[in-house]
Symmetry: C2
Subunit: 296 residues, 2 copies
DNA sequence: GGCCGCACATGACAAATTTCGATGCAACCA
DNA sequence: TGGTTGCATCGAAATTTGTCATGTGCGGCC
């Protein structure tokens, strides 16, 4: 067993492995990688062969990865992180300046933080100031020139061509199965706070349909709303990624909710090379994985 | 310029890059990599093409690497470190036990420390106890069963088949050009301390040739000896890697010094799987680079 | 200056690897 | 039970990678 270290991991194979985890399957991973399913399947097989151990658990109803697979996954992400940073550092031009960036609380725990961290390391001469707030607030600041760019949620039909689409979301009316909605009573509404931009939409639209709404709960965090829904407190407008299996999706008697999107929107300002570079990096990550990963 | 991150660095290409630095040239790097010179040249060219920037400085009399090349080199070493650790972690069997390892002070600042560190991370259940000492002392401890293995220097003709050869060295008689050696006076000898195993050889052999030796300086560190040589204090037996350009190598009137080698020698003990795994990792690194890197 | 030798680059071609599309196979769902 | 989904596998095609032979530039040496 001479020369374990002569074995080599292919960067693209590691990328495939992480894509499989992110997308939850080989077929979907192949899509975002821009490859055929068989190519990805083969790649993993080769990786396994070169390591001499299984990475995917191919038995029915088994978790995707074997223990070795999970171990490698963690290491692969670190390797890929270093790798990407190396690639970027070689194609970087020395940037300097300031970036005032806004983002919603939702997105702080996504890939964006990673990209932002890497950007700071690569461009220490650029000062990045990040401001977290609600989408509406951020858009106001953007318009007032207080931000150079912001990551905000909006109706999908409001997205402009120059916006960078991060990912799409669908809104649903949800309630607990335990909750009855008598037709002659106002609908108890669980809402994000005053500045939530689709709260207004919900109330207006529902009233057009002839239902009366009563806001019975207000909370700025999604966690609070989901808890209230599950407790049977009322009806809420929730985006798909916050849905739980126990929730009941309502379609009857309520208008179909509009689609949403998260985008990066720039301020109408003279061009800022540092900002453009940061946005290009975000776009790069998206083109690699189809959309940014949002942890459940 | 869409998709900078779609660029990818090949692990083998990074390996080639570091080999070029270690070996100080493409041709030599090709040798240790087991490839033809043109293959390595091609590889670097492909790497450059995929990155869109030069890595090697091909002008005459220029340092090997461009700025970008040096930047990538540093990153490459980190990536390769993670990579190798990942490979090893997947092929490891859970080891436990104790290893008592001896090494000389010389070798503490080589690749061995890196391998040792990685081994500890990979096998936290193995307790590695390292003891630094002179080669003779370590061999005595080895014989007495106080060590499981030791990295020691010895005459090359004393190397046994079961030893793992780390690298070879040549000894030379050296002195400062300023120092005269009148034939009728004893030769002033600069020596490592009492336990240096070739000090005895030097004195005996030289006396056989009819020269009288007088030890005028004794010091356990190579740095001390080289300083004394350069100061013109006397003659010393130095291994090639401590030679300085200002030193004069003596051949006349002195016996040709024996060749030396650094090896890993095991104790005559029952097999210890943890120890064998560690030694296998060292052997792996050697087979990759021809010999361990010894910083000048 | 002209003639080596050395180190690296380059081009053509051969070998190996990687991909794709088609097809097979098993599990799951209605 | 027939449709669907997700992955493995197979042969052919495409791409990548390596080797051999040869070219180029530089420096040392009569």
């Amino acid at each position: 067993m001479a020369g374990i270290l002569s074995r080599r991991l292919d960067i693209d194979a590691l990328r495939a492995l992480t894509a499989i985890e992110d997308q939850g399957g080989v077929t979907r991973a192949a899509e975002v990688l821009g490859l055929s399913q068989s190519a990805v399947s083969h790649r993993i097989r080769r990786l396994e062969a070169s390591l001499g151990c299984d990475l995917l658990d191919r038995r029915a109803n088994a978790p995707l990865f074997t223990g070795a697979g999970r171990d490698l996954l963690a290491r692969a992400r670190r390797i890929l992180g270093l790798h990407d940073e190396a690639v970027l550092s070689l194609s970087k031009s020395p940037l300097q300046g300031r970036i005032a960036l806004g983002m919603t609380e939702d997105t702080t725990c996504t890939d964006l933080s990673r990209i932002l961290g890497r950007f700071r390391r690569l461009h220490p001469e650029v000062s990045v100031r990040t401001r977290v707030g609600m989408s509406l607030t951020l858009q106001t600041m953007l318009a007032a020139g207080a931000l150079d760019a912001a990551i905000v949620q909006m109706f999908r039909h409001d997205v402009r061509p120059q916006d960078l689409l991060l990912f799409r979301e669908e809104l649903h009316w949800v309630k607990s199965p335990d909750l009855d909605l008598p037709a002659d009573r106002p609908v108890p509404f669980l809402s994000f706070d005053e500045n939530c931009f689709y709260r207004r939409w919900g109330i207006d639209m529902a009233q057009d349909e002839g239902r009366l709404f009563e806001t019975v709960f207000e909370c700025s965090s999604a966690a609070g709303i989901t808890a209230a829904v599950q407790a049977g407190l009322g009806v809420a407008l929730l985006s798909s990624r916050y849905l739980k299996p126990e929730m009941e999706i309502l379609t009857a008697n309520l208008p179909a909710p509009p689609d949403l999107a998260y985008v990066v929107r720039r301020a109408k300002k003279p061009r800022n090379p540092a900002l453009e570079s940061l946005i290009a990096q975000i776009a790069d990550e998206i083109s690699r994985s189809g959309q940014l990963q949002i942890p459940a």
